[in-house]
Symmetry: C6
Subunit: 238 residues, 6 copies
């Protein structure tokens, strides 16, 4: 209920009689990322990198058929985040996720890292959360969901009886190495796909980034007009 | 006694004077899987995948001589499950389980995963519990029951004295690798058998799935009329 | 004193004035294995497998010179056990056990597993306790008693000072592998001896099993008349 | 607020009416490193080594484009430190750090160690904190930030779900070795860069060290006049 | 003071006015090994094996120049011990022990095991304490005292700072294997020396054993007359 | 303040009016090593070995340029020590230690072990503390101070963030082996240097040992007259 409380507080503060959609959006961001740091001084160079970083996530989301839709992009710093891209699922009611959804999700997560690497020439610490999430998804694909060439096997479900009492997994040295190989192969494939997207859709990337540099916030209505012609056009290589 | 309580509550709610078999069935499902989510909106595509996933488990149960009999299939979502297939043992009083029963059980567990993989082209997270159970059975076959080519040996019984005080198993690196090899060999064999069943009994699979898509629930009386001619017809390769 | 209590209760229940030997035997079984499950419905096939399983243990005990003597065999289910064979030591006062006694003991433990494997074509979970005990004995032979080709060495005595504070054994990877190799070699040798006994004394095995199927219980007086001519006739290969 | 308290105490002790910049500087050093040990007897040789050690850090900071600026150098012993070089970031408001900033930071940390090794012929324990910090940065580059040839992967973020309950990382033996190889490669590259700087800017190093030997403290105003012509002149090899 | 108490109790029980040497000897044994089990029924075969087992320890002690002197041998069962050989040091005041003393001690500990193996054809559990002590000595020689070809190094002293907080030793896999190799080499050398002694001094071994079978206890006065001509005659091979 | 207390007690006991230097020396030894065991009976052979053992430490200290100066040698047993050599640093005020000081320290620690090995033909347990200290120093050189061919790296500082929560170091198997190799290489080099010193300065060693056998205690005034011509004459090989 934090979001509703925050929305009400914003409405009161703005002397409105009703909670508007804008109040709700602002409240959601505040609860997720922390208070806005609009007063924080950001250099032009930093602002540009952040805009391209978020544009990298967004363009991947848009061109990949199985990725989530972009809802809003912001480069106003909040809490520890220099910027943020909000996504929503097409099929919000689904109880399961598929292999291609996971691969798309990893590719989208690599969007910021790849932009820094390929457009600006070196990566920063700003992508560490993205890498952590991407690696976790890739590892779960291999060890929980049978989505790698190790086949239908489950290796880390904590409730399984083949864990010893100290909680250490009991698979051997060779299988441990094979798991890592598969995780790295998934990550490398998604990183390559991401690079093709970033380089292949450079013009669209520039459009999104420039718009962000100017306005700092990009709602889905405007974002969709910028990226309308490129939706679901990339054929990922798996 | 939860099941009896639930049955009584259902009977009262339906203004019946006695608990019927239908009350009992409904009560069992509720206790095992959680409350029915009939109101949950499910897309046609999701409904179709769930129907085929459950049909995959069911057809394997039916054609494998040592597998359990299908009692009921449902694709009404309950708790975290999109669907469920209930089985019963032929020889319910048996104090032991045999190697071929375990191999059949693993093959049945792979039914949903294989249908997703071979009929729909990619697997989802919906099979993760099945993979966890299958892997646990395969591991126990190797390390507790002497049912692999490692022969008559026991490696993980927690009460055995050759575990050190920290509870870590003390078998060496080489034997750890051999255990994993055997577990993976068992799983790969069962996965291949499962693929042969899914592809070889495609028509029956379609019949079961279509019936489920139409009715959402399939009791054993009707299920048996659909699958009567294929019972115990698959010769598994071990 | 549980056994004495149980014997007294049985005597009272049977309106006897004294505790008889039968009361004592019944009481011992109840304390060791749990209450009798005579009312439990067992199929003919299950009864036959249990009878042969126990007969497998018994015939090994009888033909191996260093094994314990058979005291009583029962296939009346008790607690978790489908059947049980009671043995007694020839030299009950001995303070030590020898290598050949351990090898005989392991071979006897493999009797049930081997009967299932060689006579009925596949093993069941019913031998898991036997495998656990056999593996523990084999491991102790290698790591505590210097009874393998690793020679006179002790590797797991918990009171020894070369264990570190976390209780983890400190032998290296190579020696860990060698220990496992020796344990597996001991188990494989005993399994082969056991197979030779089961196949070589098939007629006696049938006699014991048939008698058990008919009477369900076989006391040593009758057992000895059945197996009298085969005592201590097998020359184990070490 | 310790720094403000200390500044106030110093001002009072010096019978000033206001807290001066000098009070602040002294207070910051005291809180960071411990009380001044001006009375401690230091041999001429020790003083010379400390001066060159700190000059090594400083010259690296100055010639590397991405390194922090030198604020103050002192060879008055404080707490456990024989000397100290204070740095400040150019872009103090930045929320992220880049790969080249990390590599510069490691190179600066190696400044003291390399001076001891290359100018005085052998290293001392005085560089142990520098080595610890450098190794930690290099490890984070490989395992948190995707800044090595292992690519975009995250391996040690403690909040990630692929850690087991005992907190042990679950990557395998091979990947563990590869991580170490990358960490060592980063450290070796920075050490080589550092050696080129120390040997290539020997005259400037001597100037800084001699000034320190004479004055014991070098504020940035004077430091900048000494090193003005060499700023950002070294092209690091990555 | 337990020994003195026990001696006094024995003197009182025997209605003596003073504590005699015999009271003291009896008291020492009781405190070390537990109460005498003279009433325990022991078969002739068991008695013979125990006598030869203890004679094996004793003859090694006698022919090895650096071993301790035999003080008393007994084959009266006490506590868990079937027999026991008491030794005393020649140089009781020494603050240190040498490599050749350790090698002699291990060889003496192997005396019982080797007699069982070479004279009776198979080993028993009776030597497990001897093996544990011998292995501990050998391990300490390698890891604490620099007495192996690994040279002057110390690897397991618990108070050393290079142990991590969990108490696990931090030497690597290769060094762990090398330690085990050295331990096994020391044990194998001592086992070979022991076999040469047992087979080379067979007649003396028989004399000691026969005397023990007859008298059950052998004090050093009588023991020395039996073994007088063989003292310190074996040249161990290191 | 224990030392002052002890000095005062000694002065009072000796009916002196002031605490003398001798009281101080005696007090220091008592606090460090435990009470004097002058009454302890020591054989001539033991006394000779102890004298040479301590002379081994002392001669290494004297001929190595970077080693500490000998202050006093004693072979009067105290606590657990059969003898002891007291050293003092030349540069007592130094806040750091160098690589050559560490190598000298290890070589001095090996003095006793090497004398036992090369002069008396076998080592004893008397050097175990020396080996433990030497190994710890060598390990710290490799893992904390960058003083091995592994280069500038830090691997065991407990406060570093790249340790996981269980405190286990996270370097891999290969690096673990390389650390051990470097530690052993440092120890082997120092052991060889020590052997050259012991054999090359045999006459001086005999002089020191003979003086100790006669007087039991050797203060630095007399020690310096004996060893005056050999000071700092050995050129160690690193």
């Amino acid at each position: 209920m934090n979001v509703l409380n925050e929305s009400a507080i914003l409405a009161v503060r703005n002397k409105q009689k009703e909670i508007t959609n804008d109040d709700m959006r602002e409240a959601i961001e505040k609860v997720m990322l922390g208070p806005s740091l609009k007063s924080k001084v950001v250099t032009e160079e930093q602002k540009k990198i952040t805009a391209y970083h978020e544009a990298g996530h967004a363009i991947c989301s848009t061109v990949l058929p199985k990725a989530q839709k972009v809802q809003k992009i912001t480069i106003v710093p909040r809490g520890k985040a220099a910027g943020y891209t909000f996504n929503v699922d097409d099929e919000s009611g689904s109880m399961v996720r598929t292999k291609s959804q996971f691969l798309s999700e990893i590719t989208v997560l690599f969007g910021g890292y790849t932009v820094e690497d390929k457009i600006f020439g070196e990566v920063s610490t700003g992508a560490s959360n993205d890498l952590a999430k991407a690696t976790e998804i890739a590892r779960n694909m291999v060890t929980k969901y049978g989505m790698s060439s190790l086949g239908a096997i489950s290796l880390e479900e904590s409730s399984m009886s083949y864990k010893d009492v100290s909680g250490t997994t009991t698979y051997g040295v060779d299988l441990g190495n094979k798991i890592d190989d598969q995780v790295r192969k998934i990550l490398a494939t998604c990183q390559q796909n991401c690079q093709q997207i970033i380089l292949g859709y450079r013009k669209n990337l520039d459009d999104i980034a420039n718009c962000l540099i100017e306005d700092e916030v990009l709602e889905y209505e405007k974002y969709n007009t910028i990226t309308d012609i490129v939706k679901n056009t990339y054929l990922p290589k798996f």
